[in-house]
Amino acid sequence: MTIDIDPRSARPRPFVVAWVLLLVLAGVSLLTAFLGLGRWAPVIQFGIAAIQVALVFILFMRLKGPPTLKWVFAASGFFWLLFLYGLSMTDYATRHGWPSPSVSIQSESPPR
């Protein structure tokens, strides 16, 4: 099945399907918040968000098609964020006692 997204000839259907899919995924994401998945919840929710964003990028922002410079540009923002996230973690992940078991320094007394 080929999906036509060229604005000159595209039919609304693939976009409407994508819209439905986006809403369904949002529903799933919402559901996971109440399941008590603990530390996995943000991972799953962010995974779902990534799928949603891929849908928006490929169809609504018309990245579909042969790989072009647009693909490189669209991906490079996320790629550069990996530098920030990954290399900062060389510090934080190797710091003594981080992430600490949830003690913010003034847990008992409110600041003001």
Binding site: L69, S76, G77, W80, F83, L84, L87, S88, T90, D91, Y92, T94, R95, H96, S104, I105, Q106, P111
Partner: protein, 558 residues
Amino acid sequence: MSTTTVERAAAGEPSGAEPSYLTAENSVAGWLLTRDHKRIALLFFFSITFFFFVGGFAATMMRLNLATPEGLLQPAVYNRMFTMHGIIMVWFFLIPSIPTTFGNFFIPLMIGARDLAFPRVNLLSWYVFNLSGLVVLYSLIMGGADTGWTFYTPLSTTFANGYVFAAALAVFINGFSSIMTSLNFIVTIHRLRAPGMTWLRLPLFVWGIYSVSVVMLTATPVLAMDTFLLAVERFIGIGLFDPNHGGDPILWQHMFWFYSHPAVYIMILPAMGVVSEIIPAYARRPIFGYTGMIMALMAIAILSFFVWAHHMFVAGISVYSGVFFSLTTFFVAVPSAIKVFNWTVSLHKGSIVFDAPMLYALGFVLLFTVGGVTGLMLATLAVDVDVHGTYFVIAHFHYIMVGATVSAYFAALHYWWPKMTGRMYPEGWARFSAILTYVGFNLTFFPQFILGYLGMPRRSYTYPAEWQSWNVLSSAGASILAIAYALPLLYLGWSLFYGRKAPSNPWGATGLEWLTPSPPPEHNFPRTPTVVLGPYSYDPEHDTYVTQEGTTHGGIHG
């Protein structure tokens, strides 16, 4: 490759039928609302020259103060001086310097385009730059900030007395100008190259600007977010870096240096591009290792994102992280060294002309080497722990950012002055100020290596009396340097009116920019040039050169 000998460049071409970009529609609106990349380049040139002297004034006050241990300024005033010196020189001179002026002017000319991809964005970039400049001047006039240009939290949020909010806002706004300019360059270089101008035929200056644009576009938004969060914290009193609420001040430093270390490369990459143009043109032979130079440029651009925490070895990061960043910092030295070796080898068996641009460029290579090697010393964890926060660091980064980059800036200014203005500069004066720059610079900053090694802390308004002789040397050098930087303003200004009219290709260089008349007409090329070979086809033995369009000429000697 079909080459024909043409006598075209021999005599100074008459400006011809088409008026130059300087004379076409010469009204105030014609300049302030222009979309011509060449006019916008000149507008940027005026703005950054102004800020160069504002920042230079602050440096003068600092060196005056440090001439004696007792000092001249109040400590608080001294703090404000070095802060404003840092902020203005980094964001209002060094980062925009070569890209916004020579990049703006010559990228379209060198790739054979008639303008940048987005001329209106280009003009907007200048207005945004000036807006941020006004905000920083406001902050300066109201009393300035005293945090250092690095705005470390919580000093900048909780303990500073100055106009930190305005200064941070200025940096934030300034980032948009950087982003707009770099975006424009990236898209232009991708999409507007003339027929035949393949990636491996681009002049190295274009590659330098391309690599720097990649760094600007990807690093600046992190600083934008960082300063935005800082401004919020400063404004409302609590924020993400506030230790009272469990915030981590080191997070500010991580995000700051994620931008500001690449920012050092933002300053040096275009300078490397300039020098890679000038050395072959004045050694009259092809650059050695053209593709290696490109790979080194791009490697430096990418690696610059992997090294930032070497500024934070003593800030409280984990020691494992320190080891990692120390190692990656050593890696950056590899492509940097490749470049220095290639420039040096490019001189071998050349027929070198020691004109002012070449003198500046050679000064660049020497100063960059000193700055680079001391950088390796600082990358070593144990050494850094000892000399961190001393004048050793100051001397190191001034060798790179001032010695190297400003030398390359003046090299570019002299090299392209005939093309930009249509006038030749007085060669004798220019050589004199090139040498004076080199001497003054070394006299100013070499003593600071020694002071740093002896332990003199940076950002201190006073020092023990036994260090005075080194400080006097440094201050004396600074006065020489000030003359060397002010001198070009005088003789270049003089040449605008009394200089010899420049021919279209006074240096016998090969790039497309030299095919246009000096100064170029409004839309650069009456017809789109077709490129048949790469840059730097100089032949020192026969004293000839081949332009990128494939025409062979006698050299500048003949």
